[in-house]
Symmetry: C2
Subunit: 424 residues, 2 copies
Amino acid sequence: MKVAIIGLGYIGLPLTFLLSSKKYDVIAIDKDMDKIKKLRKGVLPFARNEPLFKEYFARSLQNKNVVYTKYFEFIKETDIILVSVDTPIIGKKPNYKALDSAISQLAVNIKKKSIVVIESTLAPNTTKNFVIPTIEKLSRLKVNTDFYVAVVPERIRPGYIYKQLTSFPRVIGISSPKIKSVMRKIYKDITNGELDFVDLTTAETVKTVENTFRDVNIAFANEVAIACEEQGVNVWEVRKLINKSPFHNMLEPGAGVGGHCIPKDPWLLASSVKKHQMRLIETARSINDNMPAHVFALAEEALRKKKIKIANANLAILGYAYVGNSDDIRNSPTESLIKILKNKRVKYEVHDPVVKKYSKTTVEEILRGSNCLVLMVSHSAYKNLDLGRVSKLISTKIIIDGRNFFDKEKITKAGFLYKGVGNV
Amino acid sequence: MKVAIIGLGYIGLPLTFLLSSKKYDVIAIDKDMDKIKKLRKGVLPFARNEPLFKEYFARSLQNKNVVYTKYFEFIKETDIILVSVDTPIIGKKPNYKALDSAISQLAVNIKKKSIVVIESTLAPNTTKNFVIPTIEKLSRLKVNTDFYVAVVPERIRPGYIYKQLTSFPRVIGISSPKIKSVMRKIYKDITNGELDFVDLTTAETVKTVENTFRDVNIAFANEVAIACEEQGVNVWEVRKLINKSPFHNMLEPGAGVGGHCIPKDPWLLASSVKKHQMRLIETARSINDNMPAHVFALAEEALRKKKIKIANANLAILGYAYVGNSDDIRNSPTESLIKILKNKRVKYEVHDPVVKKYSKTTVEEILRGSNCLVLMVSHSAYKNLDLGRVSKLISTKIIIDGRNFFDKEKITKAGFLYKGVGNV
């Protein structure tokens, strides 16, 4: 069976290597010729520190069964076309430019009896109302007679791509029961997890609701954290005790929600509902988006206590990635914090041990002369921070902790003013 | 050790019997003389079908170690005073009338070195800012010198009182480490669950956040259900698939949230925060409160499809309790639905097999001539409904299912128009 994969990003590329290793012939398509050239030369274009990524790539190069190209004409030879293009949002609405382009180009090249598999995350009913009609119109073929469609939204997280890709259960939406057995065969080759077959829209809904569930529960934790600050209790102690009660799993509050999925998928879901406003989902988004501003408010308050005007402050910001130990900076909460600082003309410096742009400096350098350490990302590297050394470098002893990273008691004993999200 | 219990409701009375069975001498205080007289005569004043309630009462009567009274003067003899009065809300604000009365009367009778234990659910910081100052003022005693305070919020659900009371972990807020050992002794006699010692406000916070967690997660399920209705997918299938994904536990959507705790405790929590609006918590409350109106909208839509004007409709409503198989009607969603029907002058009849007021009629009687069956509560008794018989009695074959109680396929095959919350 010959497979095409359109869009060689965080989903498409790992899939390419995996299917290649399973002896599928793969046509790997991306519009970015730089990326194509790198791949042809055996160079990974991103996520070089992703576990197993290099190994799978090496195996795939040995197998010599992948063609990297920008030309959709190759689709004329393939039986399965996996679409894993980016589906971002602009404001609160989905932007299907890349999807539209991929679908339009595959439609004019599609072979009869092919199966188009959407791995990208879409707003519910997009496949039914947009993908299928577009293919039918441009190809002059009829769905479920001349071609078939499946929706199999990816379920992976940077840093765990191969672990999750090969073990997580998958929800498989199919346009017709006729393709159930072939879809089962392919995805059994990909994952050991359970496969559940549903209709197209259910598959789209499950994916967006799944990530929205996380977003709403993080927003709950953040709102409770803000309540705890006023009540003078420690949200982390509250959370620990709540989670001892059966059926309770309060998530972690923090300095903001980043990454490619959680801040976006709730808007894909909400945008698909016209008759009712998705009030809870929208409120959750707004609360999470506001957390970097809350971190700034904590810093402002601490500086005020130390009689330092914000105009004279210099913040040392630790961490730019959206999550600890990753170099993924998509929707970074630190980026939002920096926007606020720029707007208010507050001085700052940023360090991140993993993100290239911010790893050229050292923590020591950015702490020197700063009057406020703001920890935004729980990179393990920061565990080695020596409080004595920090005391000597920093000009005012303030620590703002966005990730419950430090031990408040220890920090306070060392003479610092400590303010953590949910623990002031 | 002699114990006083103030407030003999769903918490105080089970505790009275339990402590009596553990050989504590108990002074059981309630302002309601009717209740006191019943208890003295060996008659249970409520919840007669609660498992083990009768048995514990019988044992306590044999032990002859409980004094039922309305007089607070008995507190002069007791070492521990448990307060388990009702703390309802009026609108969105706590109403501490009963608490105020209990605290004021105990303050003028309290013995030196006593411990006042609050089992009632309070807004965070109420013990610190209201209970303690009130006792100090009226008793002229000093907290942590002349008397002590603990906050041990109850964690039980009607129908499971003794099971949960004797097995659940308890969070114990204490005003001073001096009372830790005596508090441990008492609560070890009550529960096999773990005991966690914290400060007073943390204990209040844990309780209110715990129930708010449930409320927000039910609101999420309800909002997703409404989205699924528009998307034409079944929320119950979506939920099942989401919960197969690790760390996801989407709760059940439904016709509304009732009972004594979940609709109230979020307002206790929100009312304690002045500097920030608890937007997510408030939105969740509003969504859940709106579900009976949503059930009505589903009924209206179904009737319209069957060309029946709402003015000519007659709804047969099944279930009045707030939860299946219970006679507890506090904050019943059916009550909210009835308010809407009355406002719109829609005819209806109600049946409930467990709630006295609505058990005098039969399901058959209320179905006869009705044009719409609305199931609000999943009482097991309704599992026996014979669809053939329903078809004969009902004048229009419509079923509105607020609890995913019926099998849509079966109902539809029997010729009914079926609309369920999240599954239309």
